[in-house]
């Protein structure tokens, strides 16, 4: 079993603490993505898991064994790096098999594993090539192959797709997902791309400034973000955040948009300033259902995406984005009305940014 347990993990460089006690339990076979803006500590966490960075405090266990003081090679992990890190002076065959040199396997078994991995990753015709003769996607597959043949307890991926172009990235994303299903391995994957996180992960840990802000399934993060940071980070385009109030009568109102009034489903007390979160894809252009909140404004830009469009609008001094199914009638500078159903509302405390509970 290859579960990973991280307890109170701290990293300090001199006097600067950059990880402030991270707790994370990853089940055997689970695909967990660490995501966050650059400098949030996600790569450092991964490198500590790999044994490439010293642990300043706390504990990491892999498969029930504390690995704090173990060398990377003794941790039974494999890692795929952002810049592939395949050895330029070896052939693809030797690159894939390199991690097996120290393994106690006979030659035929090693050869079998290398060829199997090459077959799975479509690299068989390229085995005798040098990395300089490969494309970016092929190089990354070689790096994945090198990780695969070692049959590790845990796979670590450090932004492996960020050097690839958009099309290739989508393709490799699928391959990584397929690989996970096929190998059933525990995977910890670091990325700054929330789309990658949402599409790949069983669970996502959203990190900011050395802390995990929220840990949950992609759906949980999307539907119940714990604060404005998570709310904005998850989803594309990101959630509209507008200043408003939650009045004592349970109505949510937006500053500068008097016609907007929507009942809040959660508990209410005295009137309080809030930040109102509206996801662009939960808003409708045109009149909505009865009880929906109306926002009238002016179209700024329309981005056509194919079967739908993104409408950038200005209303009551705020800038908003809404998704529209039919964009033909909308012209920049023209009037527009968007509506949001009561269920689409997310409320956050204005000061702390924490989410208010919904019932």
């Amino acid at each position: 079993m290859a579960e990973v347990s991280i307890k109170k993990l701290v990293k300090r460089y001199g006097d600067t603490e950059i990880l402030h006690g991270i707790d994370l339990d990853i089940a055997h076979g689970e695909f967990v993505v660490l995501v966050g803006p650059s400098g949030c500590g996600k790569s450092t966490t991964l490198r500590m898991l790999a044994g490439l960075e010293e642990i300043s405090g706390g504990e990491i266990a892999i498969g029930g064994r504390v690995v704090n003081n173990l060398e990377p090679k003794a941790r039974n992990i494999a890692m795929v790096f952002q810049n592939y890190a395949i050895y330029p002076h070896f052939t693809v065959y030797k690159n894939i098999g390199f991690g097996l040199r120290t393994a106690k396997l006979d030659k035929r078994e090693k050869d079998k594993r290398i060829r199997e991995a090459a077959e799975i990753l479509d690299l068989t015709p390229l085995l005798e090539r040098k990395p300089s003769q490969l494309s970016g996607g092929q190089r990354q597959r070689v790096a994945i192959g090198r990780a695969m043949v070692r049959d590790p307890a845990v796979f670590l991926f450090d932004e492996p797709l960020s050097n690839l172009d958009a099309q290739l990235r989508a393709q490799m994303r699928l391959e990584v997902k397929r690989l996970h299903r096929r190998l059933g391995a525990t995977i910890v994957f670091v990325t700054h791309d929330q789309v990658e996180a949402m599409t790949l992960a069983d669970r996502i840990a959203i990190m900011r400034e050395g802390r995990i802000e929220q840990l949950g399934t992609p759906d949980e993060l999307y539907e119940q973000p714990v604060n404005t940071f998570v709310a904005q980070f998850v989803g594309s385009p990101s959630m509209n955040l507008l200043p408003g109030t939650l009045d004592a009568d349970g109505q949510v109102r937006l500053e500068g948009l008097p016609e907007f009034a929507v009942p809040w489903s959660g508990p209410t007390g005295a009137a309080q300033p809030v930040t109102v979160g509206l996801r662009p894809d939960e808003m409708r252009v045109g009149d909505g259902l009865p009880g929906s909140g109306r926002i009238s404004g002016e179209v700024e830009i329309v981005e056509r995406l194919g079967h739908d469009a993104l409408v950038y609008l200005k209303a009551g001094g705020h800038a908003l984005i809404a998704k529209a199914e039919i964009a033909n009638a909308l012209t920049p500078g023209g009037p527009v009305t968007v509506t949001a159903a009561p269920g689409a509302l997310h409320l956050f405390e204005r000061e702390s940014g924490r989410a208010l509970p919904r019932s």
């Binding site: 490439l52 990377p72 890692m79 890190a85 330029p88 120290t102």
Partner: protein, 278 residues
Amino acid sequence: MSAALHRPRIAPGRIVAWTLLALGGIVMIMPFVFMISTSLKTPEQVYDLRLIPLRPTLKNYVELFADARFLNWFVNSLVTSTIVTLSVLFFDSLVGYTLAKYRFRGRSFVFIAILSTLMIPTEMLVIPWYLMSASLGWIDTYWGIMFPGLITGFGVFLMRQFFSTVPDELIDAARIDGLSEFRIWWEIALPLVTPAMSALAIFTFLGNWTAFLWPLIVTSEKDLFTVPVGLSSFASENLTRWEMVMTGAAVSTIPTLIVFIVFQKYIIRGVVLSGLKG
């Protein structure tokens, strides 16, 4: 059609450049040509400055090789230069790698300290070296000739700069693949800096092969002379046998040419290899 028949015009700038380069080339090659030419002359013809000797002769070469001392000097030069070169390649690249790829307290200080040794001219060092050699009994030994050059600040500096260009991720990947730190240096990092290693090998071998001042000071026994020191013994107050000096010099260029030809190939191959972009 007519365009195809047009000869490409050569820009006047190019003609000037080529002329200057050709002149430079001639200036560079002349000492070499004179050396060969003089080595083919008889003693009477030496001061006759024509390039092609009137009656070329190989007598000087025969005499040189008949003299057991020259062969001895040649071997001395070969042994000391080769050992020093191997030592420099090994130690300088190890130190350079450590300075480039390990984080430790005092790293910059150590690097600057090593770098600052480059500012001290050999002429200033020979006296301390000599005193040291005298007190440790290294005078008239191979070790005495070699020890100042076994690790060089220049080599450390050069190798550190090149190792800095090796991606850290490759080294991390090798750690995860289970290599020891020494093997990472040997199997992963070193093959990626072959151009620098080759350049360092050429510089070091040439520098030691032609070294004169220190070998002259540290050796007094004729059997331990290196080629340049030995050749200088052909010159005396009353008579300098230029034809023999030139013959010896001509023969002594052979190993340097071989080293250059061999390592130049590695420089080119290395550039091709490390041309891989991420």
